[in-house]
């Protein structure tokens, strides 16, 4: 039987929705029993959110002062100690999981399976390579623990309504002090989170300036949507990097994605190919974005977008 340990992602207050997606993936392993580990300085609130997720058998809380910020260097030895008896250790392929899980895998002496998009069996998975231009089927060695990250855009969050037991767990390992959290700066906004929003509006380089991005925000607010951007718009300094959608930014799967002034470079398309409906608004009728768009409108975004905002 497979026993999967899922490492919860959170910000110290709330469980990140990526965790319920990783649980969805883990529950797809035949006969899997899924536990969630919450590392925090104060874990009870986050643990009860994890206990609510369907398919979770147990929630383990590991409370230590060192876990007030989730750093790979301090988490990895604790996860290794906790992983005894588990056949799989999974995390999300968010920056949190990408940073952490390879450190865990190396300490356990195994390779990691990155970005699981399909589970074929307990040791057999599909994952994207070459920026999503190919899908590779891989097989991990049978008698070894499988350490993996899960491509969250490939999974819907497991439903709530569970009440899994929560148990406090001690992990007695020495932790390094060579890595220290200083601060985090985020363009905090009241808009829905880009990675979990059901609707996303993104702007590209054609917007021309950060002031002009205003029409994107107005449309997004009318729709209750999250706001994203192409790499070109981020590199041009119109918006901060955490808004970037694409292979090198965030990979998202909203029900509705509206790409405005985005030509559709392959690296951007990789980030949106699991979206429900893609709408493209672009001046250039030949832009590659129209090849993948469900609904396309060629024309001047500076007149179309305000008109659309008014029409909604």
């Amino acid at each position: 039987m497979s026993k999967v340990l899922v490492i919860a992602e959170h910000d110290g207050i709330e469980l990140n929705p990526s965790t319920a997606k990783v649980v969805s993936c883990a529950a797809g392993i035949p006969g899997a029993e899924v536990d969630v580990a919450v590392f925090a300085s104060s874990a009870s609130e986050i643990a009860s959110q994890a206990a609510d997720i369907q398919s979770v058998a147990r929630v383990l809380t590991i409370e230590r002062e060192e876990n007030s910020h989730l750093l790979a260097a301090t988490l990895a030895p604790q996860i290794v100690a906790l992983s005894d008896g588990y056949s799989h250790v999974f995390g999300p392929s968010t920056t949190f999981g990408k940073d952490l899980m390879p450190r865990v895998a190396a300490l356990l002496g195994v390779n990691q399976i990155s970005d699981i998009m399909t589970v074929l069996g307990s040791h057999s998975f599909k994952r994207p390579v070459y920026a999503g231009n190919a899908v590779l089927t891989v097989e991990a060695l049978p008698l070894q623990v499988v350490v993996a990250t899960v491509r969250t855009a490939s999974y819907t969050a497991a439903a709530g309504g569970n009440s899994a037991p929560i148990s406090e767990t001690q992990v007695n390992v020495d932790l390094p002090t060579h890595t220290r959290f200083i601060d985090i700066q985020s363009g905090a906004s009241d808009r829905p989170d880009l990675q979990t929003a059901s609707r996303v509006v993104s702007g590209g380089r054609a917007l021309g300036s950060s002031e002009n991005f205003d029409i994107i925000y107005k449309l997004a607010d009318k729709l209750g949507a999250g706001v994203g951007a192409s790499r070109a718009a981020v590199d041009a300094g119109y918006v901060p990097n955490e808004m970037q959608v694409g292979q090198t930014g965030k990979i998202i799967a909203p029900d509705l994605y509206i790409a405005i002034g985005i030509s559709g470079a392959i690296q951007h398309l990789t980030g949106i190919k699991d979206a429900g409906t893609i709408v493209a608004i672009n001046k250039d009728e030949e832009a590659p974005i129209f090849e993948v768009a469900d609904i396309g409108l060629a024309g001047d975004l500076f007149s179309i977008v305000p008109e659309l905002t008014d029409a909604l």
């Binding site: 260097a73 940073d99 231009n133 965030k250 190919k273 090849e291 029409a311």
Partner: protein, 249 residues
């Protein structure tokens, strides 16, 4: 600081439209342009800037792979690296095996800092730097968009999902770099000539006596599912109607 090691991986150039071979055994690489992994180029640029600021004395570029990787190392030398090491092997290596080989070089060279791309654009694994830091038992700072060296520590700003996170790490350490750290310089012709005279050591991987570790078996490659082209509408009214039709508004 005496020395920085920078990893340079030979990969299919990022402008090449990658195609899966019809037998599913891999992707087409015959006659395809090969280049330095773009993230690794950014890592090298950062190391060169540190050297130019007088923060480090020597920049060593390292590649692990077939003898063809010498091309990428020569490009790295032309950019300004002082010398190069190729660990030559024709075996398929996974990130853990690469990390173990890199660790042997870190020990041999007494490196104080290893700069790497956050991922290579072929396998997209995003593992090697973190694994090297783990088996070296040293700090890692991944996805760096700003690096500031202060004696025995470094302050690294990291591009994470929530924004920009700053960590302070003790050296030696591994730092993996993201796109916005810098813009790599172009190589000029005289630099290419000069690079031919710079040292490039070739070390057979077998000489290092490393157990490259377990391998994740590659079963088959397939092209991704394609999205179909949809409809074009003429105006905003048409767009609103189409969205209503799909029940999206």
């Amino acid at each position: 600081m005496e020395k920085i090691l920078v990893g340079l991986k030979r990969v299919v150039d990022y402008n090449v439209r990658v195609r899966v071979k019809s037998d599913g055994s891999g992707v087409e690489t015959d006659g395809v342009k090969m280049s330095i992994n773009p993230f690794d180029e950014i890592a090298l640029e950062e190391a060169l800037r540190m050297k130019e600021r007088g923060e480090v004395n020597e920049v060593v570029v390292i590649s692990i792979g077939s003898s063809e990787s010498q091309q990428q190392l020569r490009t790295g030398l032309a950019m300004g690296a002082d010398r190069a090491i190729l660990v030559e092997t024709n075996d398929a290596l996974d990130p853990l095996g690469v990390a173990r080989i890199f660790k042997a070089l870190v020990d041999r060279e007494n490196a104080e800092l290893v700069l790497l791309g956050k991922q290579s654009i072929d396998g997209d694994n995003n593992q090697m730097g973190q694994m090297l830091a783990a088996i070296w038992d040293r700090p890692q700072a991944t996805f760096a968009s700003r690096i500031e060296l202060n004696g025995n520590t470094a302050r690294v700003t990291r591009e994470v999902d929530a924004g920009l996170e700053t960590n302070e790490i003790d050296l030696p350490a591994v730092i993996t770099v993201d796109l916005r750290l810098n813009e790599p310089r172009y190589v000029k012709l005289p630099d290419i000539m000069k690079a031919k005279k710079k040292p490039l050591d070739i070390v057979p991987a077998t000489d290092l006596g490393i157990d490259a570790g377990p391998i994740v078996r590659e079963i088959s490659y397939e092209p991704p599912a394609r999205r179909e082209r949809g409809i074009m509408v003429d105006d905003v009214a048409g767009l609103v109607a189409a969205l209503k039709d799909k029940g999206l508004i």
